[in-house]
Symmetry: C2
DNA sequence: CGATCTTACGGGATTCGTAAACATA
DNA sequence: TATGTTTACGAATCCCGTAAGATCG
């Protein structure tokens, strides 16, 4: 036979009250029910748990040994259903999200900080990765959702736009390009170009724009971190294309920056999740926070939903 | 509604196999049974635990959050019944015993050491106390049993004789008493007498003997530890009466010792337990060990059973 | 003899399993 | 269309509660 909760509760109550009758009152049941529940439990574990006469009920040695474990299990069950209800209510839980480095460094820290202040029993794990890996993580359910760019042509994934981020050419202040007010991408081909890693969202946007234009120059350098690209520019080794909202660009005041006239050269940032995979309550709350954060955050061009 | 184990097992199995059908095979039940068990559990906790289409079953965020707790509870249940069976079989458990200081210092250490070598999963807690407090502990079920002297006239307690221990007079080697081969208790009255605390078993034996003789001298000193009594004797402050099996007496080779001719002056040592309180399997094994130990131990006059 | 646990037994609720309905890749 | 989940429903089971029986103080 199979031990069940009622049996454990019966055992715990009888042990606590030292009497079947009193325990049955506390449990709002009859004492005969308790009698058989305890008997069943004793049968299951193959040992007598109480020494009982008509007048007195006391734990056997085995019963005494087992009691702490039983009490702990009952406590954990209560904690479990309590916690589950809290999770459903969105006041407890654990969220795992992935985000692009540029987002992880700008909006997210403040969002997380405000969020955990409001929901101290929700823990958040942030994984900053490049766009390609992020897509994998979302597909494999390694994260609840991601903050990233949309993956074109992948209808396994849902995307909700939160903000757009314009690309800009970054070059030394004395560079010939400084004369233009606004640039076209083609104008860069005459100079050595520093581009981001092919796995990055920035590179995807640039490659897409180049494909449209039909011109596909080899980059002079290909780097993983924006700070590296900026370092190379500073050293006079070329021109790079980076999103203006990134912390790296914002803080590179010693370099010149020109926006592009092309509309293609904007990176779309939003919530990326598996299609059909419903967000948990905690994740939903966090997503709502994110929307507000993008609106409040200078440097990002917020977009409301759609 | 009340959550039960079947539901938790169903949840865990479906989560592990990612399929109701495969889980039902593993659990030797039908998949419709699992379906309703999971549905009930979801009802109980008020949250959907799986996102399921006909083709795929995967945990929701809530389900993912609760899974570890559920797995842990199931593990603990298994551990509980496993452990309980071990306890019934006498290969695991916890024994609490009380013993007189003289026993705690002589036979018990070796007994315990041999016992835990044979039963490493049984833990033993030894409490050394004086006879009076020991009786209380046994009565109040604070210990599984005790190794002590019998309490006369208390039929709440069961006593099984293990050994007898003869009392001896202890005095400096140059003391007048050295001339006698064997003593009678009366011979001590002429000297200052050092007796043990009234709560001790030694004192009870002496008092009982004195009561029979009808002579009740005031002790010159009354001490709690045998080593103190021996110290006082060494200092020439009087004569004392101690059990010969005690470590203190054995090692006091600089003092003289004379046995008494009175049979009353023997202390009976044995297992003391609540009447009706059955010993657990572990405690029974230990008691069996004790019997052997007393036989093997030099200094104690073993007795087999009753 | 009274308080309290156990046992017996009938009725009610729960749960199971078969089979049909339903949904998705 | 095929696989896999849900739903429906009759049947078996389990469990509770009443009441009688047993036992200890």
């Amino acid at each position: 036979m199979n031990v069940n909760f009622q049996q454990l509760r019966a055992f715990a109550a009888v042990a606590r009250y030292g009497s079947f009758t009193r325990a049955s009152q506390a449990l709002f049941t009859t004492q005969s029910a308790l009698s058989s529940r305890v008997a069943q439990l004793e049968e299951s574990v193959g040992a007598r748990l109480f020494d009982r006469t008509t007048r007195t009920v006391r734990l056997t040695a085995v019963g005494r040994d087992v009691r702490p474990a039983v009490e702990r299990i009952l406590g954990e069950i209560d904690a479990l259903v309590g916690r589950t209800k809290d999770i459903s209510a969105g006041i407890a839980g654990r969220i795992v999200i992935a985000a692009l480095p540029s987002v992880s460094a700008t909006v997210l820290p403040q969002t997380i900080s405000a969020f955990v202040r409001k929901y101290p029993r929700i823990s958040i794990i942030l994984r900053d990765e490049l766009a390609e890996r992020i897509a994998d993580m979302v597909r494999n359910d390694e994260v609840d959702f991601a903050v990233s760019s949309p993956i074109v042509g992948d209808n396994q994934l849902d995307f909700v736009l939160l903000a757009t981020d314009h690309m800009a050419a970054i070059f030394p202040k004395r560079h010939p390009l400084r004369k233009a007010k606004r640039l076209k991408l083609e104008q860069l081909v005459d100079y050595p170009v520093i581009l981001m890693d092919r796995k990055s969202s920035v590179r995807r946007v640039v490659d897409e724009a180049l494909r449209v234009k039909g011109r596909l120059p080899q980059p002079a350098y290909e780097v993983a971190f924006m700070s590296t690209a900026i370092g190379l520019v500073r050293a006079g080794l070329g021109v790079t294309v980076l999103p203006t909202a990134s912390l790296e660009v914002q803080s590179a005041s010693d370099l010149a920056r020109r926006n592009f006239s092309d509309r293609v050269l904007t990176r779309r940032i939003g919530i990326l999740k598996r299609q059909g995979g419903s967000l948990g309550p905690a994740a939903q709350s966090f997503a709502a926070f994110l929307v507000q954060s993008f609106k409040a955050h200078a440097g990002w061009h917020a977009s409301d939903g759609r």
